[in-house]
Symmetry: C2
Subunit: 336 residues, 2 copies
């Protein structure tokens, strides 16, 4: 079985985006805000939005289950306030829940949190509980920068985040560290901001004792860990210079990387330097890069091909990457 | 001959830092500001600061010439105003010039620019001209984020920077894109901010037509290009999705990467995916990571060993990386 731990509902029917547009337009005048019930999307529309996209790609690439969350760039936590984010997150999570209900073999849900800049993260707990307890979701996406590229929140290792972590531990759900759209013109969203956030989060973890406080808390760092595996020597050396414990002791029981790296040499590097127990298969599809690589004739994001092609990786290790590690990091998958 | 294109004067005598401290203390009261002449450092002090550090490492590692600039983290352009940065940059550049004068075979200078948040970059032109024309410097360090981690400046591809680029082109000097200390608690300086800036700058170049306007302008992206080579497929795919030209046409005549990647698998990836003409040898010494890797018994930043060990790289290609490419990117090296 092949579990893809990083998929987004980037193909939701246009009605969802239109509803969001109304919500944003009404920001200055709450009386004009659309009601949730105004959003009408049929089951057939949802089937159609998935059949030609995520489900088609699953079939073509031979993957089975996608751990599936709302479109990351559309979370846009910087827009409006906590109430804005609350209603929009509910809508996005309900849509993902409907996908999972229609195709329970193909999708397991991951929730968008109703974060808002400067608002304590514990305000996200009710929606996290709803996602896990009512919808059977197996994780959440946590945005370390709800400001959208201005980085005003305390580091992920600050007590600021602890109430949310307590709930995550209680519910046995990991978080994927995932920013949203950059509204800072310096940062391209998918080409810079996403990767920078991955590197930033890893270094926050490396310099803290967060996992002493939460020994079972788990994070997935997407996009192959940003710059981290490529600079594995730098990070090992920085930890050593700072008299921190070795990385395996410091954070590798808690921090995992996905395989969203879109060329074979990158995947090979990841598999060479990061312990196999810390790597989860993923493709980010339908995601940031949609084209076909003229050098291979295959989609850049068909990451299964790269992993399959690594002939020095044992079958047992491939099984961990494709399935076993995901079941460990997302224990609710077993229960679902 | 081996040219290391990325070295910083991180071992300057303590008097320099003490002078800076006085300068910072006097920020609210310019009458208290120290005069430049108050900083007294003898030639012997400079010799001593280099003999046991950069020169010792050059000898031990068998490298010849270091392209040498002031300590990057101490540029701290966010402190004070343009006048603060002007005087501090002059001091730092004069110290590097003295290093180069005392050891002309070992060092070629690169200047710190007196940038200041929100201040037009053309204000840096006089100091750049002084460095190049009076001191014989061969390049400059350009900080894309003088705010120190708040990223408030326009992208490097904005007209905002053009007057400086015109002068760089006229003087035939490249810039290394190099941020300074992060004062944003989200970003660790050497573990996140530096790498993020590298990735950010590359993506700014990728999405612009800057090099149509300046066909001979050249940038070196340090730290192995941040996350870029590891995600080479992602960047190729993003450019393709955006209908941009292929990378070699779009920016590889203008953008170069150094080899400051502190483990062999990282260097191997860099050499595999980035064209050999775009890679310049560097070690960032004495720099971000100073320890010895217990896995190899050698310094993490002894990057020559990694390059030497790549047996599929031809001697001609190694010569390009160690010397030839630096001479192309820094044409004033030939004249110095």
């Amino acid at each position: 079985m092949i579990i893809d731990c990083h998929g987004h509902y980037t193909t939701a029917p246009a009605e969802a985006e239109a509803w969001r547009k109304l919500q944003v337009q009404a920001l200055g005048d709450p009386a004009q805000a659309p009601r949730k019930a105004q959003l009408r999307i049929s089951d057939d529309q949802i089937r159609e939005s998935l059949e030609g996209a995520q489900l088609k790609l699953q079939r073509e690439r031979g993957t089975d289950l996608t751990i599936f969350s709302p479109r990351a760039s559309s979370m846009a936590h910087h827009i409006g306030d906590a109430q804005t984010s609350r209603v929009w997150s509910e809508i996005c999570n309900e849509l993902v829940h409907r996908c999972c209900t229609l195709y329970p073999e193909n999708f397991a849900g991951v929730g968008q949190l109703p974060q808002s800049p400067g608002v304590p993260p514990e305000t996200c707990i009710p929606e996290l509980e709803r996602c896990v307890k009512e919808f059977g979701f197996v994780g959440c996406n946590l945005n370390p920068d709800p400001s959208g590229g201005h980085w005003k929140e305390p580091p992920l290792t600050d007590n600021w985040w602890y109430p949310l972590y307590e709930k995550m531990v209680e519910l046995e759900v990991p978080a994927m560290v995932h920013v949203s759209t950059s509204c800072n013109p310096a940062f391209h969203t998918t080409g810079a901001h996403y990767l920078n956030a991955d590197t930033t989060a890893f270094m926050q973890f490396l310099t803290s004792d967060l996992f002493k406080d939460f020994p079972t808390l788990k994070f997935v760092i997407p996009h192959g860990g940003g710059a981290v595996p490529y600079h594995w020597g730098r990070f090992r050396g920085l930890a050593q210079d700072m008299k921190r414990p070795p990385l395996h002791e410091l954070l590798l029981k808690n921090v995992f990387f996905d395989t969203c790296v879109y060329h074979r040499p990158g995947i090979e590097l990841l598999l060479k330097v990061v312990p196999v127990d810390n790597i989860l298969f993923a493709s980010e599809m339908v995601g940031a890069v949609r084209g076909i690589d003229p050098e291979t004739g295959h989609h850049y994001d068909d990451t299964r091909r790269y992993v399959d092609s690594i002939d020095w990786l044992s079958d047992a290790d491939k099984k961990k990457i494709f399935e076993g590690n995901a079941r460990k990091v997302y224990p609710r998958l077993r229960k679902s």
